[in-house]
Symmetry: C2
Subunit: 121 residues, 2 copies
DNA sequence: TACATAGATGCAGTATTATGCATATAGTTC
DNA sequence: GAACTATATGCATAATACTGCATCTATGTA
């Protein structure tokens, strides 16, 4: 039951839910998440590792990139049902739609590149 | 989405989950919850009202007693699926089984009566 | 080997949450 | 209306969680 509490703790944060929503679209690296949600690198990284820790995600490394995606196969049954319910709750939500749109234009550029861009503006 | 965060916040606490579990058994008053879980009156009251606030429960007053139970009819769809998933996760959990057992012997006695008993021991 | 880069993490400050105690509130009973 | 009682709640304190900044790690590249 301690695990269940942990799972709900992870889900009880708007930013973390927004990241889940992105990942429902496709596998993402840390820098894509930071672009799509306009959050800092450390925040994006921590959110992804929190979602990973409770068992929602799997991690694949490609050179410097950490690519996170849902671990549908490894995920236990309870987690899956909770996730399904959550997914349903996202439907029709404006913020979630915007985020998914923005993810489409997110490029696989590292944080330093993104930060330079932001400063240039 | 703010609502969803609220719901998960409420669920991200062991005691609150234990109370949900009791209510899956039957309607309870505050003092039955405090007996079954061995928690303080204010804690039991606050937990119940938190669960009420997000829409899981309905409240019926009988004299001095506040009787809380699941509001299956009034509950919205998302909430219901989340609750279903949670319920499944409770199955086979030792603590939850113990709590449900203890609820059977819980009597509808007020806090003052319960506290007197405890002191008498 | 030296440097550049994506991501992870320690730390500190801030904000949020949980909980006990005391007290308020609202029914009940005499 | 006075006393009693179940529940709700204000307040203070303690515990937890969030986040940015700086730094570290590990991989890739010249």
């Amino acid at each position: 039951m301690r695990d269940l509490v942990k799972v709900y703790k992870v889900l009880s944060d708007g930013s973390r839910l927004r990241v889940l929503n992105l990942l429902l679209e496709r596998e993402c690296c840390v820098c894509e998440v930071m672009q799509a949600l306009e959050i800092s690198q450390s925040k994006a990284s921590r959110i992804l590792s929190a979602l990973y820790d409770v068992g929602f995600l799997k991690l694949r490394k490609d050179g410097l990139w950490s690519l996170y995606s849902f671990d549908w196969d490894g995920m236990d049954t309870h987690l899956k049902s909770i996730l399904e319910a959550t997914k349903q709750a996202f439907e029709g939500n404006e913020q979630m739609t915007i985020d998914r749109e923005r993810l489409k234009t997110a490029e696989r550029l590292g944080p330093s590149c993104i930060n330079k861009r932001l400063k240039a503006k």
